[in-house]
């Protein structure tokens, strides 16, 4: 299985998003580079609105993710509740 990945700008909002990712994707690897945080996982990665809202303590629209996004690898599926990256094989 190949790895999907996402990189976020290293800022306050991203820290909550990363916490949410860690909770929902316990096997994900988190790497800190200058000014960015890179998260990778085998096959699939989900960023769930509910979990992010829990950490950030306010309403959070999945599309807000784009404010902090640097890059992604994998097929994307985005709806109101979740942003997912995955490989199909």
């Amino acid at each position: 299985m190949s790895k999907v990945y996402i990189a976020l700008q290293d800022n306050d909002v991203s820290r909550y998003i990363v916490e949410a990712i860690e909770q929902d994707n316990p096997d994900a690897t988190i790497v800190h580079n200058p000014a960015m945080i890179r998260i990778e996982n085998e096959g699939r990665l989900d960023i769930k609105r509910e979990t992010v809202e829990e950490f950030i303590g306010r309403d959070w629209d999945v599309q807000e993710l784009h404010l902090n996004l640097i890059t992604i690898g994998g097929n994307v599926d985005e709806d109101d509740d979740c942003f997912s990256l995955f490989w199909k094989e």
Binding site: Q63, H66, I70, W87, K88, E89
Partner: protein, 500 residues
Amino acid sequence: MSAKKLNLKEKYQLLTRDLDWDYSYEDRQQAFPFEEFEGIKITDWSKWEDPFRLTMDSYWKYQAEKEKKLYAIFDAFSQNNGHLNISDPRYVNALKIFLTAVSPLEYGAYQGYAHVGRQFSGVGARVACQMQSIDELRHIQTQIHAMSHYNKFFDGLQDFRQMHDRVWYLSVPKSFFNDARAAGPFEFLVAISFSFEYVLTNLLFVPFMSGAAHNGDMATVTFGFSAQSDEARHMTLGLEIIKFLLEQHEDNVPIVQKWIDKWFWRGTRLLSVVSMMMDYMLPNKVMSWKEAWEMYFEEAGGSLFKDLARYGIRMPKYSDIIEKEKEHLSHQVWWTFYNYGHAAGFHTWIPSDQELDWLSEKYPDTFDKYYRPRWELAKKMEAEGKRFYTKALPQLCNTCQVPMLFTEMDDPTQLSFRESVYKGDRYHFCSDGCKDIFDDEPEKFVQSWLPVHQILQGNCGGPELDKILGEFYGFNVGADNMDIKGSPDEKRWKEWKGVA
């Protein structure tokens, strides 16, 4: 009674996809005339999947928020003379390449996506292209604004637009994008959205921008990452177009494969300049070109091609050569620019001893064996007051337009040359990849505006080199070019920092 909230997909369907209609009074094909000549078969545009379903109200909202943040940082950067915080004035030369080579490509992307954003008859793909078009305009404008402060304090940035159209090494990026824009709409998307955006731009924007942060350049890292936040949308458009074309008709598969082969090769040639920016031009290093290549091309690209295998798509042709080149590329390119430093619009230099050691460590199989001895020689000559510049004009590859500087990968001491004869004329290439591209579309590539040919034909002023550089290219000769040692950039930096 509160109305049912539409989910993203339903909302997007009604607000975008449903806007088109079947024509009754004109021939709709005449309104969208360019979809067929490439041989691509589209049977049903409604199968287009929109990965991001961004309506204009959200677009304005989120983009305005990004811009607000970005310009706040630009203002703070210039008010606080942020250029004083960079690691070393050598670093700014990477920005000069960025502004002269890359930023004008963003403009080409705006124009290219405006073209396909008008020409696709499927509204889903069309709107995605329109949004990318306006994003690309954003990118060149924010880059100009980010560099505006540097331009006030450093040489070589001032005439970036004219340089892009005229300077010899800048015909490499320019011809790359001209090639894509001159192609049909589907090839353009495979070239730029898929090959370039999905795989290759990561190498420019991610490790290089991280490098900007590591070298104290707040303005660049901010625009870089802010631009990347749009890039996620663009990358996904790239993956979507590939899947769409491959799913529409099996006859599309070989056409798409041919484009993938062409554009990955063209892309790796274009990125050779980024390899040198990473390895030689960032005083504080983040990762080597080879490491970046492995992470973003081999690993990420590998996963991608595994995913596409089910459609019958294989890795780009010459991937084996590309894999070997990562060991050599940056060294061969920087060495060439060091040799032609008098004719470049930025400064060059010999890596410091510490940097040479870093390169030895990062390239254990090649650097000490092939490249370090050259730098030791250059060092010796410079110490003797004999910094040398190559006087002869280089021969350019007719396809990628890079000077013939690449070697055979199985024998890194042997320069690589290929040639083809077309209608009685002989054309030269740096590689099998570039030769194949020419042979497939000779009528296109015989048109190449090759800067060295143009100089020799007297179309660039001169004939003295200084006149070509000063009058035709618009360099401030003696300030913009030559070694960083003794340059006005270096002198000013020392004054600012109060060092002798």
